[in-house]
Structures are given as C-alpha cells and as structure tokens.
C-alpha cells in the first residue's frame, strides 16, 4: 500500500527539462536534489523520461462553491486541479453569495484545506456583490485567515474609472493586486462572439477587440498614476498585447495572463453554434492567437491562467445566445500549453515552469509556491510526461463536475503523471490518490 504522505524518492526526472536528477521529498520539503540519491526508507517513483516542474499555480479558477455546487465544488474542482498538475489555485469571487466579505473567503479557504488537493487562495470581489458601485471590504478579506491578495470582479469589469482608481490605490496598503476583467460594458451590450468575419456571417452580436483594449489602456494609465499593481485577466487580442508591452516598457506595475483556450482556439469554431465554444472574452482570430503566443513567449504576458469555468449540461445545451459563457480547463491546461507553446518551439520547459508556476505565484503572492525544484523548498512538484502519445480529450472522464471542455475530441499530447503538494502525492500514475 502506497503511503502518499511518506518520504518519496523521485528517480531520474528532468528538472524543468534540464538536468536529470533524483529528488527526495521529506517532511513536506524537498530534502535533496542530485544524482544517485539512495532510497533508504523512501518510496521510489521511477520518473525516467518525465519533466519535473514546480507545482503549477492557477491565478484564475472558478470553483463555484458556495452556491453553484451543481457545476463544481471546491472538492471536485481542486481534484481536477491536482490532476492537471496544479498545487495552488485562485478561486474567483463570483460565487453565490459573492466572495465579498471575510466570511465567504474564509469559507472557501477552509473548504480548500479540507479537500487537501491544492492550496486554495480565494480571490476577493472588488465591489460589493460585483455590482461595480461600492468597494467591498478589501482590508477585511486581506486580514482574514484566507489572507486575500488578489481582488477581482471577474465576469464583470470594474468599469467606473474612479472606482478602479480607488481600488488600485487602496490595496497598496496590504500589497494587493487588482485583477481586471477588461470589458467595456457599453461596447459589449448583448455581445456574443468576437466582432469579425465569423460573427458577421453568423448574425451574432460582435464583441469588439477595442472593448477589451480600451479598458486595458485606461487601467494601465491608472496603475501608472497610482503606482499600483494591475493584473489583466485573460488577455485575448493582439491589440491588448501591444498596450501591455508598452505599459511594461514604461516600468509600470502591470502583469497579464492568457488562457489555454485563447492560445489554441479561434472564433471559426462557433460556426456550428455549439455554445461549448462560448466564452468571455470570446475566442478571437488566428492573428490574435499568434500574438498571444508570441507575448507569452517573450514575457509580455506573464502567465497562463485557466479561467476554468464549469457549467452544468443544461447551461450549454441551449441556443447560443441563451447559453452560459465559459470552458473547463484545469485538466487540459498543461497539455494545451505543450501543444501551443512547447511543441511549436516558442518556449522550453523552463519557460513553462516560469509561466505556469513561478510568475503566477509571484503575482498572487502565494508563499512557498512557484519556487525552483531545489533542496530546502516546499515540496510542490508536478511530474509530466511530454512524450505520452496524444490522446483525445474525453470530458466524461474528467474529475471536474462539469463537461464543458472545448477540447473534447481533440488529441492533446502529454500526461500529468504525478502531483505533490507539500510532499504528499495528490496524483500518482495520472490518478488522484484518494
């Protein structure tokens, strides 16, 4: 019987695609890294051919609990996260009730601890009820047991420029960051799909790139003016990339994320009106995908974040306009990144470690995560087999409660073999350990 919590010796893993070494885990820490370590009493995991990455950190996850346990719970969502190679996730605030008080964020944080698959870092709402009118008690959430550092009205844009300015300023007191869902509301009333050739043909209301870019440009200027930290959620257009590149060149405190689906999928997939491809921000054009990949490669976009957005079947089995926005993504993220970024030669595994672990951990202020796989660090490790034969995605087999994966039927390379959270194996041989 495997003792998942005991000592482990990971034999012959390639650290972030580099040197092949053994890794010993003990007492929640990486006890030693080096060639030819002796097993002693530790259980041995043969990692020949596997890449060892620091445990992945997701800045953008919808766990749906409390309120929408029909779509996902903290338990099922974090199990899915572990299977995807994650050791920490940020739970978005658009729950029911909204995570806009210390009470709700502490509840989510505790549920995460009880589940034990990953560290759950609740995101606090910026405004009361995501209403965009009045600041939520950001300080109370920061001081709570959940120690919230990332605040977002995700799903809604903090559209009021004055409120956005105040939020950016206010969270400086506790080293917080505002993660903005950049969407100019007036320019996107009733919007259904990227405004372009496909939407025009399908007769779906357009979601113009300018509606995202205008908010990002405004927020970058506000971040500069206030000296505050802005994080841009799910960047989806080539124009947004240009604005963020410019803001970073000024030395402003701006960071950004891109989702796996925006790195791979395009708006022409909406041609059959299947709402599994309906998402906010919408799928864009091949030119946007190219720009996003290049930006992630050169670091303009800091990290990959899943925007894992589970929905029950009936929310997607509808006409396009009536269907919910969002896609699941935790269990496919690393494989999509391999296909879109690594197999294309844009980044190497060290780059993956940086964009999916180190940088998101830094942006989210997640202590202990995102550290290089080296002796003395907390033992958050993902073992990944990039040579695993491409296999078609089957949402029915996912640990997530929901099945709305846009990658269903797509052959994706690679396989998450094992995940360790603080030295405990949450995933072994591609399966959760409990």
């Amino acid at each position: 019987m495997t003792d998942v919590t005991g000592e482990w010796l990971i034999k012959g893993a390639s650290i972030a695609g580099g040197q092949v070494v053994d890794i010993r885990l003990a007492d929640g820490l990486i006890a030693a890294v080096g060639p030819g370590l002796s097993a002693g009493a530790a259980q041995v995991l043969d990692a020949a051919g596997l890449v060892a990455l620091p445990g992945l950190v997701d800045l953008h996850t919808h766990l749906r609990e409390p309120g929408r346990e029909d779509a996902e719970t903290v338990e099922t969502g974090t199990r899915a996260a572990a299977l995807g190679g994650f050791t920490a996730v940020h739970a978005m605030a658009n729950t029911e009730p909204v995570a806009d008080t210390a009470g709700v964020v502490e509840q989510v944080w505790r549920l995460g601890q009880q589940a034990g698959y990953v560290d759950v870092r609740p995101v606090g709402a910026v405004t009361v009820g995501l209403g965009g009118k009045q600041l939520a008690e950001l300080g109370a959430m920061a001081d709570s047991a959940a120690r919230v550092r990332v605040f977002s009205d995700d799903g809604h844009c903090v559209a009021d420029p004055l409120l956005m300015r105040r939020a950016l300023e206010y969270v400086k007191a506790f080293d917080g960051v505002i993660a903005q869902h950049a969407q100019e509301p007036r320019l996107t009333e009733g919007a259904q799909l990227n405004e372009g050739e496909v939407a025009s043909r399908l007769g779906l209301s357009g979601w113009p790139a300018a509606a995202e870019e205008a908010i990002i440009a405004r927020d970058c200027l506000l971040a500069a003016h206030t000296g505050s930290a802005l994080h841009v959620c799910h960047v989806s257009t080539a124009g947004s990339v240009e604005i963020i590149r410019w803001a970073k060149s000024k030395g402003w405190r701006v960071t950004a994320e891109v989702t796996p689906h925006h790195l791979l999928l395009t708006d022409d997939l909406a041609g059959g009106y299947d709402p599994v491809f309906k998402v906010n921000p919408p799928l864009r054009t091949p030119a946007d995908v190219d720009a996003l990949r290049a930006a992630l490669a050169d670091g303009t976009i800091d990290c990959v974040a899943t925007d894992h957005a589970p929905h029950p079947v009936e929310a997607k089995e509808a006409e396009w306009a009536a269907a919910a926005n969002g896609m699941t993504g935790l269990e496919t993220a690393l494989r999509v990144v391999q296909l879109a970024m690594v197999d294309t030669g844009l980044i190497d595994w060290a780059g993956v470690a940086d964009r999916m672990s180190a940088r998101p951990a830094r942006i989210g202020r997640v202590a202990g995560h995102g550290q290089p796989v080296a002796a003395g660090g907390q033992a958050h490790i993902t073992l990944y087999d990039p040579a695993a034969a491409p296999e078609a995605v089957e949402p029915a087999t996912h640990a997530s409660k929901s099945r709305n994966s846009p990658f269903a039927g797509m052959a994706l390379p690679g396989r998450v073999v094992a995940t360790f959270l603080r030295g405990t194996a949450t995933v072994l041989d591609g399966k959760v350990t409990r």
Binding site: Q192, E195, G196, E197, A199, S200, R201, L202, G203, L204, S205, G206, P208, G272, Y273, E314, E317, A318, E319, W320, A321, A322
Partner: protein, 342 residues
C-alpha cells in the same frame, strides 16, 4: 436535396434552381379550383414559432396544407431557458410526437442549427435572430426571375449584364435559369437583417450582382468576404439597379444611435417617388414586409406598378411548398418501407 434548409449557403446553384423550378410547377396548383395536392398526406409539419410572425407562419401553414400535410402550430413565444421549457426539451417532445419537419422561427441566431442536432426530421429555418431567413430569399429570387423574366428584363440564355436587349417570351422559358447579371440593391438595416444575409448568399449563388446600401452603422462589421458590394449612397446605386429591395428599419435602432432620426434616415435611405424615378424603366421594387410606409418606403412607391410586394407574398406559399416537397420527398422511401414492415 439535403435534409435541412438552415442557411441559403446550404444550396448549390442547381439546388436553388430546382426549388424555383419546382415552385413554378406548383404555382399552377394555385390557379386550380381545388388547390390541394396529395403529396405529403400523412406527414406532419410543425410550425415552431418563438417569435410572432403571422405572415411567415400562415405562409408555411398554407404551403403544408396545400400539400395535404398535417400541420401543428406550436407557439412558443415567451419561452426561454429561464422561464420555461428548453429548446432541446421542446425538440425532443416534438420528436416523440413524430414530426417529419419542423419549421422554426427563433430570436436567437443559430437556434435551427441546434434543433437540427436534436431531431431526426427536417428542420426549416423560418428566420433565426439576425442570421438567416432562407425561404424569404428563395421567394425573392423566384419573384425576381418571374418579374424580370416576364418583362424580358434580362438575358436568361447566357450570363451577362442586365438590360433590355434580350427580349424574352414567357415564364415557362425561365425554368433552369438563374439570375445571372441581375443587379440587386438591398437597402436598409443590413446589420440586423436575416433577409439580407440569406439574399446575399442565394442571389449571388444564382449569379446576381448584389449591392448593400445602408448607413455605415448598419453594415455588419466584417463584410469584406461577402459576395457583394457595399455602398453608403442610395442615389448613386439606383440608376444601375434592376431590383431594389427595401428592408424594414425599426424605430428602436434610432435610440441605439445607429442613426440620428427617422427623418434623416428617410432623407438619406428612404425610397420615395423622386428616387424611384432614378431606376431603369424595367426595374422592380421589393420589400419583405412588414413595411413602414413613409419611412423606408413611400406609399406611392409601395403601391406603384414596379412594386412586387404582393407578388412576393403569393410566391411565398408556392416557394415554401417547393421546399417542403423537396425536403420531405426524399424521406418518402423510408416511410413506405416503414409501412411495409407493419
């Protein structure tokens, strides 16, 4: 013919001409004392209308009844995911009742696509959101062929520019022909018009040269790939139009800042008697209805001999008969096989 008619793009030129020719044959039935054919006896056609549209629904109903089909009108107005039965459950319900065809009108673009994935019968799009309305385009094409062909308005023997040079004889000669070289100008709220989208696709498939005219705010964002020209100047286009098709403009577009006022819209994009005088002598005026008299079309234009608006309505029934006949005809064999087993 295919199983469904969801987009005008589903039709090849040959298929589109077949629909028009079949409609031509069926038109003769309308002239008989007993206007019924036994063709679809025992078949069930459901009119599933999520939006009010008395004219389209009654047109389909008349078409199905003239082919002796059983017709069920299923008015689902007001239904929504939040308030009532989902589209899928309605589809499964109709499927369980044994329907051969569902004629669907829905406010959401793409609803007929979804429906087609859930039922085994044929799905006919009777207008979906701001996407398409293919039977309207077919009846428009039929009307153009009939009106211009009868007037000798264009050459049917070979593709070429429209004009008076090719003198044609009678309607019967039109069978097998498309609309090669016919210059069609569609005017109005293109952005929100399912009629415009279907007409651009179908008329160009049939060889017509389509020009869309509207204020820039009412032209879809990305039309570069569409098989048509774009113009913002109605007066400049009328002199080279064999057909001008006026679309209904809704008052609520004004409040959404698509144009400043109805008065200004009428001045720049309305078809009045003065503008009508710019049209070539043989040119016809069309409107899919319902009209806003005094807005996009002046009363003297709507009631002029050039107007084909009443003919469009009459042709709507025969063209829809043709569509039902061709879509359901293909399933006949299966039905007789089923009977043989019983």
């Amino acid at each position: 013919m295919k199983r469904h008619l969801i987009s005008a793009a589903d039709l090849s030129r040959e298929e589109a001409v077949l629909v028009l020719d079949t409609a031509e044959e069926l038109a003769s039935v309308a002239g008989r004392p007993i206007r019924k054919l036994p063709t679809l006896r025992g078949r069930t056609v459901v009119n599933l209308f999520y939006e009010d549209s008395t004219r389209t629904r009654t047109s389909f109903e008349a078409a199905a009844k003239r082919l002796s089909a059983d017709v069920i009108n299923f008015s689902a107005k007001g239904s929504s995911v939040a308030k009532g039965e989902s589209l899928k459950d309605t589809a499964l319900t109709l499927e369980a009742m044994g329907t051969d065809a569902i004629v669907v009108r829905h406010s959401a673009s793409g609803a007929p696509h979804r429906l087609a994935g859930w039922v085994t019968g044929s799905v006919i799009n009777a207008g979906d959101g701001t996407h398409e309305h293919p039977t309207q385009a077919l009846l428009d094409a039929f009307t153009i062929r009939q009106r211009l062909g009868a007037a000798g308005g264009y050459s049917t023997s070979q593709p070429g520019p429209a004009g008076h040079s090719a003198v044609k004889g009678h309607n019967a000669d039109l069978r097998g022909t498309g609309l090669d070289g016919v210059r069609v100008t569609i005017v109005g709220d293109i952005l929100h018009s399912r009629v415009a989208r279907s007409n651009v696709l179908l008329l160009s498939t049939l060889g017509a040269e389509v020009t869309l005219v509207a204020p820039p705010t009412l032209i879809p964002y990305a039309v570069a790939s569409w098989p048509c020209k774009i113009s913002y100047d109605l007066g400049a286009e009328l002199g080279q139009s064999d057909v001008v098709m006026m679309l209904r403009v809704q008052h609520e577009r004004m409040t959404a800042a698509y144009f400043p006022s109805i008065r200004e819209y009428r001045r720049r994009y309305g078809l009045d008697a003065d503008r009508m005088a710019l049209l070539p002598e043989h040119a016809i005026v069309m409107h899919p209805g319902p009209m806003n008299r005094g807005v996009e079309i002046a009363a003297e234009v709507a009631d002029s001999p050039r107007s084909s608006i009443v003919a469009q309505v009459a042709n709507g029934v025969t063209v829809r008969m043709a569509v039902l006949y061709l879509l359901l005809g293909g399933a006949e064999e299966t039905a007789s096989e089923r009977e043989a087993l019983l």
